[in-house]
Structure formats: C-alpha cells, structure tokens
C-alpha cells in the first residue's frame, strides 16, 4: 500500500508520500542544482531499486502540491560486528524551502519506518566538507558513531 502522510508547515499542507516515476525529473533537477551533477540515468536506476520495490524507502515531500524535497533510505546489514541499521542513502531539499522543516519531516518519516522495521540505529555517510548536510543531520541528533570510513585509490 502506498505511503502518504499529510501534516502542516506554517499553514501550508505538507505531504510526504512514496515517490513515483513522475517525480524523477524533479529529483534529478534538484540533485543537479544542489551538486552540479545531472544524472537522469542514475536516478532512474535508483528509483527502480528503491521506489518501486521493497528494497527501501523513497519518499518525496510536497508543500501545497509543489515538490520540495526527497529522501531515500534502506535497511542495511553490516559486517564488523554491527547489527543491521537504517541507512539514509541521500536527502535533498529545494533551497527555496530550506529551514522550513522539510528535511526534518522527511528524516522523521524515514526514521519512523526504520523503527517499524525493527532497527535501533540510523546512519549515513557524508563528505567531511559537506557542512550543510553535516549540520542538518547533527541538528536531528546524529553524532559520529563508532565506525570510521576508510578508502584508497585503486591505481
């Protein structure tokens, strides 16, 4: 059954619902605006992985019927001693509605779904210079966890 939740933000109607294929253009454009990367094929694949399957949660937020943001999350199993956790794959908010609780409502919604699925932790990974998103997730109560990301070039 499709997910849909309606609340109010500053007198406007805030709807959070399952993404559908018609949202892909808005998601692609918003991601391109926020990151400078226009990746329609990537978002099409991502939609088919998370949006129209049971692999995860792909929600969009509309304010008074206008696309305002999106979030994608999934339950991930982990090695190295970690229990499965809720993973926030990405979040995007239209800059024109920033600081109006859109990101918070999306985050709360996906957190509720993780809780219902029985996991006790929510995680994400960001570039350490991505201050905007780091500040957002910290404002939701997230902190550095016990795992450290490591990487190296393969050349």
């Amino acid at each position: 059954m499709a997910f849909r939740k309606e609340t109010q933000i500053d007198g406007a109607v805030c709807v959070i619902r399952d993404a559908d294929e018609k949202d892909l253009a808005s998601v692609t454009d918003l991601h391109a605006y926020n990151t400078g990367q226009h990746k329609p094929d990537y978002w099409n694949e991502t939609y088919h992985r998370y949006g129209d399957s049971n692999e995860g949660f792909f929600y969009v937020c509309e304010i008074d019927g206008t696309f305002a943001g999106f979030i994608i999350g999934e339950i991930r199993a982990w090695e190295f001693g970690s229990e499965p956790c809720g993973w926030v794959y990405t979040i995007g908010v239209n800059p024109e509605v920033r600081l109006k609780q859109v990101g918070t409502r999306l985050f709360e919604t996906v957190s509720e779904q993780f809780s219902k699925a029985g996991v006790g932790q929510i995680r994400t990974m960001l570039h350490r210079k991505d201050n905007l998103n780091l500040s957002f997730f910290r404002s939701q109560g997230m902190m550095g966890g016990p795992y450290i990301e490591l990487e190296m070039p393969l050349d």
Binding site: R128, N131, S135, R138, S139
Partner: protein
C-alpha cells in the same frame, strides 16, 4: 582533544547565554556556576562581544546576553576566536614537511585535524542546546520507566 582555559570560558558563556537569549547574566553569575575567574571571564566576554556573539546590557539588572545566530553559529566559530583548531601553520612546525617521514606524519595529522574541524563546524549552538534537552528528556523517561 584538549581546549585552552579561555576557550572553555567562551563556550560556557555562549552556551549559558544562548540557553535563554532573553536572559541577561553577569560575568560573576557565569564565573560562579563554572568555577572560573571572573576577571578572566570578563576579558573573554569582551572578545565575544567584539565577535558579535554576546552583547552587554547596561543598567539595573544588566549583564550579557547572547546576540549570535543560534542556527548559524557553530562551536568552531567560538573556539576559533581563541585558539587554532588544527591550523596548518602549527602542524608544519610539528613535523618537518620537507622530509618523507614528516610529510607522511602530516597526512595523518591533517586527517585528524579535518575531522575535528568538520565536527566542530557542523554543531551549531542551537543543535548542542537541543540535543542537551533531548538527552535530559530521554534520561527522565528512562528513570520513569525503571
């Protein structure tokens, strides 16, 4: 990570005043609560005032109040006024960057510095106060359920 005494004084003051931006507190009020020198704190408050994070209110019941932006001012903004957080100049003095070993050590130390800066730069005063409240509420719920 260890901070200098003046930095702690600044953080105590900013957070105590930002807890309720309507409230005015004297240097003595804050000094007594955190067991720090009122004279030392007065100097720190002047520096915070110059940075626009606090303002002094004259007259009866006067003191200091928070004048920064709760959602924009980060811990890094406060700390950076009083000390260098992972500054490259300091790091270059620590390890000889013109040697292979010094260069390798600098890479590791820079990684630590960048994480510290990212952490402190992403925690706003508002976020810290909010998470303090959440923690208190959670502890109260747990105590009631125990």
């Amino acid at each position: 990570m260890k901070l200098q005494k003046a930095t702690y004084c600044a953080l105590y003051s900013v957070l105590e005043l930002a807890r309720d931006p309507e409230v005015q507190l004297s240097a003595t009020d804050i000094a007594e609560k955190y067991n720090i020198s009122a004279n030392h704190l007065a100097k720190v408050l002047r520096d915070l005032g110059r940075a626009g994070l606090v303002e002094s209110v004259r007259g009866a019941g006067g003191g200091y109040r928070f004048s920064g932006n709760l959602k924009r001012t980060t811990l890094y903004d406060v700390i950076h006024l009083f000390e260098d957080v992972g500054g490259e100049n300091e790091r270059n003095r620590d390890a000889q960057a013109d040697t292979d070993i010094g260069n390798a050590l600098n890479l590791v130390l820079t990684e630590i510095d960048e994480i510290a800066i990212a952490t402190l730069g992403s925690v706003t005063i508002g976020t810290l106060l909010k998470t303090m409240r959440w923690r208190t509420e959670r502890e109260q719920r747990e105590a009631q359920n125990a």
